[in-house]
């Protein structure tokens, strides 16, 4: 077996995929075993809570990886459907926190049962021109019209802005993830899922690196009122780590290592900034953790998990399509 990474770019797509999943599930198994062993050896009360949190995180990654595998097995249709469901759940959580009024009912029905399915149908049909403008232009115009027809003038602009913003993030942003799978790039047919995998991995890498860096550096927080751990230096560490991971994974993308690194840096940086924006939103809504069981909404915390992806996916999509075309 040849371990030259560049040659991995040239082996068949099926074998690449098999290799990818073996690596992914191998790493997860190792992580599970480590967490399992730690919970056996340590038994003091204070660490127990953190261990539990860690175990929950590992389980969440397992679920994510399995969902990824299932959506890969079921082809583009399955992936589109899976992300459509994610969008639905994320938007449900967002709207719960947005304190909508009685007069928003019809606009919300439009958002959930017309806009969301249509956007994913457009993705599935690979109409990427319409896909790019449907929500920013047509939905942007339609929502306030429906809202005006409901006849409630109170806080009109604010209410519409909230709904439009929620749709932009939870539906438009996230719908770029399955679009990556369907994107038809020259000499890269059938490997769109790698791009999605690449995106998920580098944005997770940026998040984890930023979190660790902020603990190590202990810098003065840049925006104390929103996030006590965010500093530009920690953010930079996240971006750099994402770039490194991206460069190491370049063989699953259609581009060379340098371009893969810059695409990864871009996606990672956007993702962590998206996380910061969601923190601000949470503070505004008065929720500490969206996954908190005793919170107002009982929200399941999905929005928290997909927020970095929502912000990173559109930028990454454009970088693949326009900024950094395959050489």
């Amino acid at each position: 077996m040849n371990f030259d990474l560049a040659s991995l770019q040239n082996i068949g797509a099926d074998r690449q995929i098999a290799l990818l999943f073996i690596i992914l599930f191998g790493l997860l198994t190792v992580a599970s075993i480590i967490v399992g062993l730690r919970s056996i050896t340590r038994d003091d009360e204070e660490l127990f809570v953190r261990e539990k949190q860690l175990r929950r995180d590992v389980r969440a990654v397992w679920i994510g990886a399995l969902a990824f595998w299932v959506s890969w097995m079921s082809g583009p249709f399955g992936a589109t459907l899976a992300f459509g469901v994610f969008s639905f759940l994320a938007l449900r959580e967002f709207i719960t926190l947005a304190h909508t009024r009685r007069g928003d009912h019809r606009s919300l029905i439009l958002a959930f049962f017309v806009v969301l399915p249509l956007q994913y149908a457009i993705v599935g049909l690979e109409r990427f021109d319409l896909f790019t403008v449907f929500i920013p232009v047509y939905v942007f115009l339609a929502i306030p019209v429906v809202s005006a027809l409901a006849g409630d003038p109170e806080r009109f602009l604010e209410r519409n802005a909230k709904i439009q913003w929620g749709i932009m993030v939870c539906v438009y942003g996230l719908s770029h993830a399955p679009a990556l799978i369907l994107l038809d790039l020259p000499r890269f047919g059938g490997r769109g899922a790698f791009l999605l995998f690449f995106l998920v991995i580098v944005s997770a890498a940026a998040q984890i690196a930023q979190e660790l860096a902020s603990r190590q550096l202990r810098r003065r927080p840049t925006v104390r009122l929103i996030d006590r751990s965010f500093s530009w230096r920690a953010w930079g560490a996240g971006v750099l780590f994402a770039a490194a991971v991206g460069a190491a994974l370049f063989w699953i993308t259609p581009v060379d290592a340098l371009r893969a690194a810059s695409m990864a840096a871009l996606a990672g940086g956007c993702g962590t900034l998206g996380e910061l924006v969601m923190r601000a939103l949470k503070k505004d809504a008065g929720v500490r953790y969206w996954g908190n069981r005793s919170s107002v909404t009982g929200a399941v915390g999905l929005l928290d998990r997909v927020a970095p992806l929502c912000f990173a996916a559109p930028v990454f999509f454009h970088s693949v399509r326009w900024y950094l075309p395959a050489a």
Binding site: H105, S294, T297, A299
Partner: protein, 206 residues
Amino acid sequence: MTRAEAMGLLIAFIARLITGAQGHWKGCPPKAEQRIYFANHQSHLDWVLIWAALPLELRAQTRPIAAKDYWTSSPFKHWLTREVFNAVYVNRKRTDDQDPLEPLLDALRNGDSLVIFPEGTRSNKGEPQAFKSGLYHLAEQFPEVQLIPAWIDNVQRVMPKGEVVPVPILCTVTFGAPMQLTPGEDKRDFLERARAAVIAMRPNAP
């Protein structure tokens, strides 16, 4: 699996998809004991929400109260309430020769749990209205049955009055600690205490 069971699972699935239907068991664990759950009433969906928030194994023993004239008026409504929800039918029109609580008493004698909305009608003013006296009479005659207060939150946003299509918004049902009628307690005092227990379960009460 019978058709009714499949229908029940489908309804619970839809309720969870739309509202999350999360049950927060603050004052008591979900247990197969004989109980009377009483809650605030803001929407037609209230019963379905409580029912979907209960663990599957408790659903069959926990019965709603349904108005006989409305819920037996068509074969489908009758089937839904009888086979799926196992509802207790009551007459809305009061007749002299029959106690309107009689079907509820029968169900309790039978060992079933009940869900009641003591306001008697839906309110959307935020605070629940004064409780009707039915709860007091049930507590008086069945002192061994646990009375569990519950607050259903957010459901009025899912389907406001006059709308038919529900909007997906997360709702919670918070169950409180069991309460009891203290010996010699006045009816008015008890009902006011029960109402306060329901309001106390409201998350982030202003």
